[in-house]
């Protein structure tokens, strides 16, 4: 949106000016996202190390800042090994699908007022659709590898992702009931008088946080990867750049869910209080700060919570989260009926 007018002023018609400016913004955002993935991976390892009284990566660059980039380069320069029995095309499409879906989800995340690539009316549904498509990258990777371990792991991963999507769906419904809109910017604006995390929806925030750990196969729900016990899940046959794309997609999804939680429950780009020193800080800084806090929590969970067993994972999803979120949908709907003027009536 920023570049439409400059392009129009040099004589480009509106349609093409819009197209060009969107393309440029997308490329810039993708680059920023990839760099921040590098930072997030480093932060994850540093936090993990600090909990275990280790130093973590500290050799490449100052404080190990370049460690992730060195790792990425190592992956890129290695040989791509495709198993002889693998379905070559699908084997290579799967990581591309995963990485692409991880990128396109960011199209609807508003970083600040108006700072969004596509401010669509069905933003939440779009994100839900993209995250449900993420299952395909996993299943196709497991199937195309032509390996029993990869396939079994892919089936488990798919079952896990599908199970937790159900409760995530109901959590989204409660937020929508409160906000009265499917547009992410409108949801943020609806929190101007109080973040949804500090209302009736607080239990939903907790459920969403835990479900997003399961959805992205972060510890304590990383039992398909379980790197201390098993082979590396559905990516066991992958090496080099295809593996790197899975890794990138995984961390992008983690960041995306942090961003989504920020938008849904922590008031997006809104400051903590609407008073002088806090309102001077730009909205995008608030957004990134909130995301960082959420990611810190995720990293701490990884460091201190022991891994779940598979039946415990399924029980938690279907027998605990699903009933609670279902009851909460009814409760929230009743609340909205009784106090139709939103949470201002609190």
């Amino acid at each position: 949106m920023f570049l439409v007018h400059p392009f129009q002023s040099i004589g480009v018609p509106y349609g093409w000016a819009w197209f060009l400016s969107q393309a440029i913004i997308m490329v810039v955002l993708s680059l920023i996202l990839m760099l921040s993935v590098a930072a997030v991976i480093l932060a994850d390892r540093k936090i993990w190390a600090a909990v275990q009284l280790r130093r973590g990566p500290n050799v490449v660059g100052a404080f190990g800042l370049l460690q992730t980039i060195a790792d990425a380069l190592k992956f890129i320069f290695k040989e791509v090994i495709i198993p002889s029995g693998a379905n070559k095309v699908l084997f290579l499409i799967a990581p591309v699908v995963t990485a692409t879906l991880a990128f396109i989800a960011w199209a609807v995340i508003p970083f600040d007022k108006g700072w969004v690539i596509s401010n669509i009316n069905v933003g939440i549904l779009y994100l839900f659709a993209v995250s449900s498509l993420g299952v395909y990258g996993v299943i196709v990777a497991g199937w195309a590898s032509n390996s029993k371990y990869a396939f079994l792991s892919a089936l488990r991963a798919a079952a896990q992702m599908v199970s937790y999507e159900v409760s995530i769906g109901f959590v989204l419904v409660t937020v929508l009931l409160f906000a009265g809109s499917l547009n992410l910017s409108a949801i943020v604006e609806a929190q101007r008088h109080g973040w949804f995390a500090f209302t009736l929806l607080f239990p939903m925030f907790v459920i969403f946080f835990i479900s997003s750990l399961a959805e992205t196969q972060r510890p304590p729900f990383d039992l398909l990867e379980a790197e201390s016990e098993l082979v590396a899940g559905f990516t066991v046959e992958y090496s080099s750049t295809p593996f790197l794309m899975f890794f990138l997609g995984e961390y992008m999804n983690v960041m995306m869910l942090c961003g989504l939680m920020t938008v849904l429950f922590l008031g997006g780009w809104l400051p903590i209080w609407h008073v002088a020193p806090f309102t001077f800080v730009p909205g995008v800084v608030w957004f990134i700060l909130k995301m960082a806090v959420l990611f810190f929590l995720m990293a701490m969970v990884k460091a201190i919570v022991p891994r779940y067993r598979y039946d415990q994972l399924m029980r938690l999803g279907w027998k605990v989260f699903l009933p609670i979120s279902l009851v909460w949908v009814v409760l929230t709907a009743g609340w909205v009926m009784v106090f139709p003027h939103g949470i201002g009536a609190l």
Binding site: F128, Y136, V162
Partner: protein, 202 residues
């Protein structure tokens, strides 16, 4: 607008090609994946029409849920593809006959198709003025058609319970963990310290 036309041609071309590949692919897993590509492009066409809610629901329901189950089933089934294809040719004459009849009927219907005089005015717009897709659909579904909508939901619920009842098997010898019992256990009733005399064993 030129961009929209390019996008329409692009999506519909891919959609037709992948719909063809659904029936032409030798491997059923590839067929399902092409089916997903078809759904995906259909969703893109919905977006071009301005029916964004339908597009997203198509993706969530069909691609995100139904096609995943298709893929699960097709991947788990041990199908001998060559065996399946061998008998296919003997159905060719009959299949051609059915196809010709269908095409004739479609042409017959299509050639006499005409719009009622007032139809273009009554045509629903994808986006009524001042309303988003979702609101527009909700206002119709929950007012004029609320009973049909609720009935559809009830039928789905019955189908779901039916599927669970049909497939549920209680295994009496399965070892299950009771989470409350497990959580209530303390060190006192789980661990016992035993003095072992040397040379005797426990």
């Amino acid at each position: 607008m030129l961009l929209t036309e390019i996008a329409f041609d692009f999506f519909s071309a891919i959609m037709i090609a992948s719909a063809f590949m659904v029936i032409a692919a030798r491997n059923p897993v590839h067929s399902v994946l092409f089916l997903i590509l078809t759904f995906f492009n259909a969703a893109a066409l919905f977006v071009l029409l301005g029916a964004e809610f339908l597009a997203m629901i198509l993706l969530i329901v069909y691609v995100g849920a139904v096609a995943v189950l298709f893929l699960f089933v097709v991947m788990m089934l041990d199908v001998d593809f060559a065996e399946l294809k061998r008998g296919a040719l003997q159905y060719l004459p009959f299949g051609t006959l059915v196809g010709i009849v269908l095409i004739c009927e479609l042409i017959l219907v299509g050639s006499v198709w005409f719009f009622a005089p007032g139809a273009s005015h009554a045509l629903a717009h994808a986006t009524p003025a001042g309303l988003t897709n979702t609101e527009a659909l909700g206002r119709i579904l929950y007012t004029n058609y609320v009973y049909y909508f609720q009935t559809a939901g009830l039928i789905l619920l019955v189908a779901m319970i039916g599927a669970i009842v049909l497939t549920l098997r209680h295994k009496p010898d399965a070892r299950r963990q009771s989470i409350p019992v497990q959580n209530a256990r303390s060190r006192k009733d789980a661990v016992t310290l035993v003095e072992i005399e040397p040379g005797k064993g426990a």
